[in-house]
């Protein structure tokens, strides 16, 4: 018998992450509420720092990386110590991890409203913050693996497998996605362009959902649900199969975000097939969670913590059934670019991540403070507000998505688009947006109630920073003759899990490899040329203002789209697009063929006051573009980096880039003047760069007579 050792668990770090997840959750959700209001009343776009385009990434980053991120760490730091019967490897690393992560969130909260963004969904933060994320993530990994190494428990419970898979996969995703060359402290250019950048983005984006919002939370489910129900998981065998099948299949599913785009069909089909296969492990996990409560359903009626967890696991099941269905091409043709996707995502975030986080917080808080929960009644109220809020949020968005998609695709008997004006399809769904905002408000009120309840609970007790525990030291394993070969692997759990995680990442590599091959095989379209210096600056303004949040640049090969927008998009048109800006949502119309569609003056007036050109529009006005000068400080550097990445600019173009920019700006300003726009120093203003970019969009393959006006 080994000697019994005494040690203590670190509860303080768990409490700190718990407070952070609550505070950032409130911040992220209130910002989301502001974004929802902006889609009904554009007046809520207050100053250039809080327009929808800048607020949306702030909302998504806050809820994903701040709310869920801190929720992951809270749950991992509590469960890991207890499952391994060891204190965290280093208190110092725990502290660096906590404060480092909060600083990253703070820097995101500052830079995104300032328009400092890389435009890649869920990876918007610029390169210095990317490096900080990598460093803090490594600190987390060192702390976690250090704890695993000094553990007193031989077996690694399945929750820890999920934590390890999360760490390894997120590391790889973060590094590959953020391969970029800095232009300045706040700007960078991605290494991949066009169709390759698109595949890398959605390989990353999808797996950010898989390995940040799902696998760590499944680990939490496998620990906290048995704890709350006070019974072991229904089937441990099923949990093993759930783990391996899920992490292996998930990594392949990313291309389902790019169906009907210029991505090769092979990659699209791969994404669809693996997405459908995902139903099996996902539902295996959901059923394993729900069946854990067999014989305890009477407690679910009484215990709000179990109620939160049951709704969370059910929402996980619903979202993971819906996701694969949305990956079927014929369904995706209807759902993509609409609010259906937004509704789907929120079943996952509000239902799965939100409700599980709340359940864990309610379970943890009394234990961290050694007291009873302040009010079960308030927790029950929160549960109902959370559930109703989720439903009031998602159902109107499903309705909005179907309505808008059907309107986009409807033709008159004569063969014309029934709703030729895109705006008609927007104003039609505003009432649904209003109900969605009501749903969001209900949900946020619930979170405020939870914060009050937790605060009062903390006041009633006092934090137990260190919990004394004792356990026998880990016995050294003595191998015996004739044992199964897999025993050898299981004695080395870390090697086994790292090796296995690398094995499953083969999925990602096999998907990306063809794209690298394609680099040499994307059909070069002779007429597609690099952007001029002025267009580049205009493109960067498009990125800065977050136009990608509402406008796609990808005309799919459907008659309803080619009738509305023009020729469908070709992969060869994007070879100089760094980053690609295909977008994933059409709150406004697609812009890939907007070049030459309207005169310069239309764009000028539209950016100044969208409603003057499109009455009823919900687009924010951008009057500051008429006042602010084009920043040419880094124009030459941008050209230089782009040429380094094989964009065929003429030799020495960087040296004359600014003068070329000024020449083109003067030309556009003169044309604006001819069209009746009078403004002093117009050629220096941002609006001119924006017009240059918009007028260039999609014109490279248009016959000349349509562009020369």
């Amino acid at each position: 018998m080994s000697k019994v050792e005494t040690f203590s668990y670190d509860n303080k770090i768990v409490r700190d992450f718990g407070i952070a997840t609550t505070i950032w959750g409130i911040v992220g959700m209130v910002v989301g509420l502001l974004a929802a209001l902006q889609l009904i009343w554009p007046e809520f776009n207050i100053t250039q720092y809080f327009t929808f385009g800048r607020i949306r990434p702030l909302h998504t980053n806050a809820v994903i990386f701040a709310f869920v991120g801190n929720g992951i760490y809270m749950g991992v730091y509590y469960s890991l110590q207890r499952l391994l019967k060891a204190r965290m490897y280093s208190d110092l690393l725990s502290k660096i991890h906590f404060w480092g992560w909060q600083l990253i969130i703070l820097s995101a909260a500052l830079t995104l409203p300032l328009g400092i963004t890389s435009a890649s969904e869920y990876a918007e933060l610029e390169w210095p913050i990317d490096i900080a994320i990598a460093l803090v993530w490594i600190v987390f990994g060192l702390n976690m693996f250090g704890t695993i190494l000094k553990r007193r428990e031989n077996h690694l419970y399945v929750a820890i497998w999920f934590y390890i898979a999360t760490w390894i996969t997120v590391t790889v995703l973060h590094v590959v996605k953020n391969l970029e060359i800095p232009v300045s402290l706040f700007d960078s250019i991605p290494v991949f362009a066009g169709v390759q950048d698109a595949l890398i983005q959605w390989w990353y984006g999808h797996n950010a959902v898989a390995f940040f919002l799902t696998t760590p939370y499944l680990g939490l489910m496998y620990y906290f649900l048995p704890k709350a129900a006070n019974r072991p998981v229904y089937s441990y065998k099923l949990s093993i199969i759930h783990f391996w099948a899920l992490i292996f299949i998930y990594i392949w599913a990313g291309p389902h975000h790019l169906l009907y785009t210029s991505l090769p069909d092979w990659a699209q089909s791969l994404g669809s097939v693996f997405s459908l296969m995902l139903i099996a492990p996902s539902w295996g996990g959901m059923l394993n969670g729900l069946l854990t409560l067999r014989g305890a359903w009477d407690r679910v009626r009484r215990d709000p913590i179990l109620k939160f967890m049951v709704v969370a696991v059910t929402a996980y099941g619903m979202a993971t059934l819906e996701g694969p269905l949305l990956s079927i091409k014929s369904i995706n043709a209807i759902s993509h670019y609409t609010d259906w996707t937004v509704g789907h995502v929120h079943v996952g975030t509000l239902g799965w991540n939100g409700m599980l986080t709340f359940g864990v917080l309610y379970w943890l808080w009394p234990r961290l403070y050694g007291t009873k929960l302040f009010s079960m009644k308030l927790a029950n109220t929160h549960f109902w507000l959370g559930t109703l809020g989720t439903m009031f949020y998602t159902i109107p968005l499903y309705w909005a998505g179907w309505t808008q998609s059907l309107m986009w695709k409807k033709f008159t008997p004569d063969g014309f688009l029934a709703y030729g004006n895109f705006l008609e399809t927007v104003t039609q769904i505003i009432p649904m947006y209003m109900v969605r905002t009501l749903g969001g408000t209900i949900y946020v009120v619930g979170v405020f109630i939870m914060a009050y309840n937790l605060w009062k609970t903390a006041q009633a007790g006092s934090i137990i920073e260190n919990v004394e525990a004792s356990a026998p030291a880990r016995e050294k394993y003595v191998p015996h003759k004739g044992e199964h070969w897999h025993r050898w692997i299981e004695r080395r759990p870390i090697q086994m899990l790292i090796g296995s995680a690398i094995l499953v990442l083969i999925g990602g590599l096999v998907e990306i490899f063809p794209m690298i091959v394609i680099d040499e095989n994307v059909p070069k379209i002779e007429s597609v040329k690099p952007y001029t210096a002025l267009e580049l600056e205009g493109r960067d303004l498009y990125i800065k203002e977050g136009c990608i949040g509402c406008h796609s640049q990808m005309v799919r090969p459907f008659r309803s789209e080619t009738e509305r927008y023009g020729e469908f998009s070709k992969s060869g048109e994007f070879v100089y697009d760094r980053p690609f800006l295909w977008g994933s949502k059409r709150t406004g119309p697609d812009l890939h063929r907007v070049g030459g569609k309207y005169p310069h003056s239309w764009h000028y007036n539209h950016m100044l006051e969208p409603e003057s050109m499109s009455p009823g529009s919900i687009m924010p006005p951008y009057p500051w573009m008429l006042d602010q000068d084009i920043d040419t400080t880094y124009t030459a550097a941008k050209v230089k980096v782009l040429r380094m990445l094989n964009t065929p600019y003429p030799r020495g173009y960087e040296e004359r880039a600014v003068s070329d920019l000024q020449r083109q700006a003067r030309k556009i300003a003169a044309e604006l003047n001819e069209q009746g726009i009078e403004q002093e120093n117009l050629e220096n203003k941002e609006i001119v760069a924006m017009i240059a970019y918009l007028q260039r969009l999609g014109t490279d393959i248009k016959p000349k007579q349509f562009t020369e006006n």
């Binding site: 469960s79 207890r82 499952l83 428990e153 077996h155 419970y157 399945v158 496998y222 620990y223 048995p226 704890k227 006070n230 072991p232 998981v233 441990y236 065998k237 099923l238 093993i240 199969i241 783990f243 391996w244 099948a245 292996f248 299949i249 392949w252 210029s262 090769p264 069909d265 092979w266 791969l270 296969m277 009394p366 234990r367 050694g370 007291t371 009873k372 929960l373 079960m376 919990v467 525990a469 199964h484 897999h486 094995l503 499953v504 083969i506 999925g507 096999v510 490899f513 063809p514 091959v517 394609i518 040499e520 095989n521 994307v522 059909p523 090969p557 469908f568 070709k570 992969s571 060869g572």
Partner: protein
Amino acid sequence: MYKYILETAGNINWMALFALLTFFFVFSMSIYLAFVKSKEELNQVANLPLAEDDPIKNLQN
């Protein structure tokens, strides 16, 4: 739509087969590993979250 782009990128049909075989291998292995574990061991591991005494058991409503 550049449908046949990969046909010009060399023979990559092995990739689809490779994906299927790798998945089959991983899936089969996970089932095998799950079923060769002894019942005792599975029970022991499944009960790990419950091994620790609940510090506030007596305070529960």
